[in-house]
Amino acid sequence: MSTRIVRSLVGAFLALTFSLAASAASKELNLFAWSEYVPQSVLDGFTKSTGIKVNYETFASGEEMLAKLLAGGTAYDLIQPPDYIAEALIKNKLLVPLDYKKLPRFKNLLPAFLKMPHDPEQKYTIPYMASTVGIVVNSERVKEPVTGIKDLFSPKYKGRIVTVDDGRELVTAALYVLGYPLNDINAKNLKEARPLLAQWIKLIKLFDSDSPKTALLNGDVDLGYVWGGEAALLWNENKKFIYVLPKEGAHQFVDVLAVPKGAKNSDAAHAFIDYLLRPEVSKIISDEFPYTNPNGEARKLLSPEQLANPASYPKDTRKLDTFRHLGDSGAMIDELITDLKNAK
């Protein structure tokens, strides 16, 4: 009895797998991107105009993406890594150079977002959306000006701060305060940063990378060191949430599009990139997600209110830093932060 059930179940599984495998034709694009980052209407529009079906597979962090990509399994045609992971993929020859003849709308991109340190020759990646990491202040509850990281991590704000749960961001903040460049991560600098971080971690009420806006909006904390996208959503919700780029230095990150080695449908990937570069399409993405849009033509279509959002389009014009690929010093950061949190 049981074996028969097992046998028929196995049969059903196999049939299901094969039918799915068989349907994977050349008119399909395997996209591996951040979840909720590519609006459904954009995917539908692309399918309508090209006939190519998009299989949108999602991840929730760059590291998750890297782990699944490296293990193999699915042949992705287009991936959406953050800048520093793209750099690592380029170094390890895991990306395919882009064919700019197939990307006529490349010219829509603003020069500030091109030839960035992760891809100095602009050979492998196309910027999708950018943002910064900065300070959010609930101006109804905090009356004093908070302009930098030092102001934020002041003992008077103990138990009123949320930060992203990301060791590298915290270490970056410490390096800024110490006056070191944010990519100089070595044993000596980390040793210097340690007492500073130990002191900060005691002040922080919660660490949340996925939705630091929750605690701010709930009023459980009054200050935050968060992603610009989160701050932009908060500002849209209530203008009392002010976004500040720390005066010590600010980190900008860019999510890019790239074609990985082993892609089966590079043509479709290029077609999709070019479709995303259309101003009217790029505008849809900006309407859904208030990040910084690197597409100059699309910015012309945005409303004054969108452009006025200080977290999406900071007035601050100074040069921003980007993360570089760290190699194995990532483990040092993780060990340090685990140790400090553990001592809490």
Partner: protein, 292 residues
Amino acid sequence: MQALAIPDAENLHARRPRLWGWVLLAPLVAWLVAFVVVPMVILFGYSFCTRDDLGRVVFSFTLENYGRVFDPIYLRILGRSIGFAAVTTVLCVAIGYPVAWYIARQPERIRDKLLLLVMIPFWTSFLIRTYAWIAILKNEGLLNGMLQYVGLISAPLPLLYTPAAVLIGLVYAYLPFMILPIYGSAEKLDNALVEAAHDLGAGPMRAFSEVIIPLTWPGITAGMLLVFVPAIGMFAITDLMGGAQVPMIGNVIQNQFFRARNAPFGAALGVVFTLMFVLAYALVHRRASRTR
């Protein structure tokens, strides 16, 4: 009363398997080998490897990963995770046992439905459920509002992002996994048995401790296993309701694969963690079958 018994080790009527016994067991063994043993072997292999700067595993031999595992930091984190899991288990038994017992005493028609009602809340998304708890426990939340309205407190109590909030979240998440197995073994008890104990002059308390508990013990141990073991590795609740202030062993292992990009060390942690558990389990199991 017997020691923590793995429920089945003591069936005195068990016989030696003949052909059919082996044939029927084969699929289970094959499944375990393919999807538990093989992954464990892969992981074991990884734990002796090194990695390149992208985090890919490089095949070489090193014992360095194991050298780090026994760092006091990680032992302390493991101790904390076990502590939270233990408290959760005890609270789940205390809260869940009476419920399981009560449901088991209802007419058959109602029983199944009550059982389903225990589980239905968990068919909503974990994150949505947890955010509902956040709405209840936050400073300006439901609970603080109610306590202030009644006049019990004058200023909001900081409930969220404290160990208490973590425990509420853990007990909430694991309670059904205690109630259901206990129900499974309490259901077969006859009321007549309880009454007999009572008729023989035992008060409800004695009837409970000398008749009911021993007879439902297999269900309690099963529930303890199903709550305690998964709770050790749990960290999503600690992160969301505790504010990720202190690391749990689950965070540490996951971080090795993601943020630290040190899969070999993560593998070593995973291997040691799993082996410690297997040893503890085998010891308890052996003692349970020897006490007979």
